[in-house]
């Protein structure tokens, strides 16, 4: 039993420390994400749209629902794959970090063809002096001269630079885990809901006052602060193109009042939540009066379309009246089906075009200006006012700090990894008659071919430093040639 467990542990360890597995998981994840982006996902569309698609493709929808392909990004198997990737990342990079910390660095310059750069030149001075000059040159070029030792009759020096790049790779890969953790924290402990307000309306940060209460309910906390939407500020260029959008709030919390703004790209942050300005529209005030002129009902109707002339509809509660309404913020006469159009989106001369049905019987069709009323058989329906409504997404970004940390670590890691390329040079100085022969070999862990120019420059500098050295910059050992032919 113990042997089996030992074998299983060994297998698990080998699997989790496998680079091939990492690559296979990365490819699998890429393919999964492609599938999820192309197939209709239930979470992306509204329920009506999804049902419509389902009715048009019943067989495909059934198969997709059975296999979980209609909710790829929230399926167990997707998160299982992500978890396996995370474990693999953690184990591989943990091992690398351990080895690096112990000084067990990978040696560069062994691409598949096993090539490195090489050069040689002669000097008229003894090996000890040459070695000193070479060591100075190598150090001046930013290399850390690691070892100076004698092998037989040769003096050997080894210079290395750019080793911090390996830590960059570890930092980057671990940052992916941090981002994943931030995402999980956000999904489990974050919350998101919707709040709809009309100008002048006050709501409290409690579940009942939300249009859609924040979910998951267990993660949401309610600060109870009072929010009053004072005004929605809208600006248009040439009267039609939206250029500015902001909402001013009066906020009351713990007895302290303040005025705050929520703008597009600048959400209001209060009570641990962000109020993200999502959408706006017009909210005309309709007043229903009976034949005696007594007010029976009044409401602001949040029109869900904001382009002038598009139709919306509502039912007056407690009656059989259905009202279709088109709003023209700055009404002008035009050759349209309603006889109206809007010169701009500014609400300077608002007018509504109403079609009122009483139990499916049309009782009124025509334009109604602001402060006018549409006559009905049993009274009138007045267009008594106009305000803006604003929709806010209220989010609790619990994982934000972790996500940002992951983002920055990832960028730092990438810059280190590819900006600091490990390069090594090995120099052997042997006695040759009264002088010396200097053999230099070098390689870069990445971009080894492009390292040629730097290597050639280094060898030239060495030869120059060595007094009386015969300068031969041509690469004699290995198969490198100069990159440029001009």
């Amino acid at each position: 039993m113990r042997a089996i467990l030992r074998q299983a542990r060994k297998l698990l360890r080998r699997t989790l420390l496998s680079r091939r597995l990492a690559l296979a998981l990365l490819i699998l994840m890429t393919l999964t994400v492609i599938v999820g982006s192309l197939l209709p996902q239930a979470g992306r569309f509204g329920p009506l749209e999804y049902e419509q698609w389902r009715a048009e493709h019943p067989a495909l929808a059934t198969w997709m629902e059975a296999s979980g392909l209609n909710q790829v990004f929230s399926s167990l198997w997707f998160w299982g794959l992500a978890t396996l990737m995370a474990l693999n990342l953690l184990c591989l990079n943990g091992q690398r970090a351990y080895r690096l910390a112990r000084g067990q660095q990978p040696r560069p310059g062994v691409d598949r063809a096993g090539r490195s750069h090489g050069a040689a030149f002669g000097a008229s001075t003894p090996p000890s002096q040459v070695a000193e000059a070479v060591a100075r040159t190598v150090a001046r070029h930013g290399y850390h001269v690691e070892v100076g030792r004698r092998r037989g009759e040769a003096t050997c020096l080894e210079g290395v630079r750019g080793t911090a790049g390996h830590w960059g790779s570890i930092v980057f890969h671990l940052s992916l885990l941090v981002v994943l953790a931030g995402g999980a924290l956000q999904a489990l402990a974050g919350a998101s809901g919707w709040m709809l307000l009309t100008e002048g309306q006050t709501v409290r940060d409690v579940a009942e006052d939300y249009l859609v209460a924040p979910r998951p309910a267990s993660a949401s906390s309610f600060s109870g602060l009072d929010l009053t939407l004072d005004k929605v500020v809208v600006n248009y260029a040439q009267g039609r193109r939206l250029t500015d959008l902001a909402a001013q709030f009066s906020v009351l919390r713990n007895g302290l009042a303040s005025q705050e703004w929520s703008r597009v790209n600048e959400p209001l942050s209060r009570g641990g939540k962000q109020f993200v300005f999502n959408r706006y529209g017009f909210a005309p005030l309709f007043v229903l009066r009976d034949a005696g002129g007594v007010e029976r009902f009044h409401t602001y109707v949040n029109l869900m379309v904001r382009q002038n002339g598009e139709q919306d509809a509502f039912r007056i509660p407690g009656t059989a009246l259905d009202v279709a309404v088109r709003l023209y913020p700055e009404a002008v006469e035009a050759e349209t089906d309603t006889g109206l159009d809007s010169a701009t989106m500014w609400p300077r001369r608002p007018m509504v075009y109403l079609v009122v049905l009483d139990d499916d019987l049309e009782v009124y069709r025509g334009p109604v200006a602001l402060n006018d009323a549409a006559p009905l058989p049993n009274g009138s329906l007045a267009f008594a006012g106009l305000r803006y409504w604003a929709l806010f997404r209220v989010v609790q970004n619990t994982g934000e700090v972790v996500l940002f940390t992951g983002f920055w670590l990832g960028l730092i890691g990438l810059v280190l990894r590819f900006g600091l390329v490990e390069r090594r040079v090995v120099v052997r100085v042997t006695a040759r008659g009264t002088g010396s022969l200097v053999s230099v070999s070098g390689a870069a862990e990445q971009f080894n071919v492009l390292y040629t120019e730097e290597f050639v420059g280094l060898v030239a500098a060495m030869a120059k430093e060595v007094e009386g050295g015969a300068q031969r910059n041509a690469v004699l050992l290995g198969r490198r040639r100069t990159v440029y032919s001009e």
Binding site: T30, G43, R112, F407, F418, F447, V483
Partner: protein
């Protein structure tokens, strides 16, 4: 378009057409000395292109980050800039102008087919992070495009010795590739890798900046929107490339083929996906 923008835009188009014609002629008739004037025409075209972008910036009062037209023109500008920078660093890469300049011309043409009208910046675009996102997107895709071009040149360089014994057009192609004083095959391979690294880094910044911008605009860092998701697919595809290169030590022809294939995810990400599915991220409606 503004008047100054129109003048510079069409000047850039004419110069790029002239440059493309000279590049094609240089390769078709094996006139290596024509590469220098072709490159100079491309440089002049780039100067006019810069004027067009500047003119648009002044006329609209905002950087060219909105809608397909501005993205196409700015993206073409960055692509040519990357080519010129590469060519200044590695003079033997003049031949890379053959795919790059016509590609930039096509992007300008595509932009012109969409609406080039002057528009103010809408509230959704008024964000520092959007600026970072768009700039690094251009850099990333230009880097990947340059990597693809270098990969193509690398493959041609590798095939040249086998083409020499082929039929008429194969022998001519072989002579084109060998006579033009390009870097060696290994150097082209590594340059392509280096451009992938450049693109990958810029892509990472683009994704991060986009996520931050999305959190301020929509209240969510990531919503698996198709365009967002394909940007991630892009990045993951090039991550596979880098893993194969660094961990598995793959080099040579198969990496070049992979660089060319990976470019398809860039094309889908930028042009394809917003036409195929519903997305919050439509460049045309944001």
């Amino acid at each position: 378009m503004a008047r100054s923008e129109t003048l510079f835009f069409w000047a850039a188009v004419v110069l790029y057409i002239a440059s493309s014609a000279v590049y094609i002629a240089a390769f078709a008739f094996r006139r290596e000395r024509w590469l220098a004037p072709a490159w100079r025409l491309a440089l002049l075209g780039f100067a006019a292109h810069s004027g067009a972008l500047l003119g648009r910036w002044v006329a609209t009062g905002h950087p060219p980050v909105m809608r397909d037209y501005e993205n196409a023109v700015a993206g073409a500008w960055v692509t040519v800039a990357v080519f010129l920078a590469l060519q200044a660093r590695y003079p033997g890469l003049r031949g890379l102008g053959l795919p790059v300049v016509p590609f930039a011309l096509l992007m300008l043409g595509y932009g012109l087919l969409t609406s080039p009208r002057l528009e103010p910046l809408t509230p959704a675009y008024k964000s520092f992070w959007l600026g970072v996102h768009v700039v690094f997107a251009w850099l990333a895709y230009s880097g990947y495009a340059a990597a693809t071009g270098l990969a193509v040149l690398h493959l041609l360089k590798r095939w040249a010795p086998t083409l020499v014994n082929g039929n008429g057009w194969q022998r001519r192609l072989a002579k084109q590739v060998t006579y033009t004083r390009m870097p060696e095959g290994d150097a082209l391979d590594e340059l392509s890798y280096r451009m992938v690294v450049f693109g990958f880094l810029a892509d990472a910044v683009m994704l991060v900046a986009g996520a931050i911008w999305a959190s301020y605009l929509w209240g969510s860092f990531w919503s698996w929107d198709p365009v967002e998701t394909w940007a991630l697919v892009n990045w993951l595809t090039y991550a596979v490339y880098l893993h194969l290169r660094v961990s598995m030590r793959w080099t040579g022809a198969r990496m070049s083929w992979l660089a060319i294939a990976a470019m398809s995810t860039v094309i889908v990400s930028f042009w394809g996906i917003s036409y195929v599915t519903n997305t919050l991220h439509s460049f045309r409606t944001l």
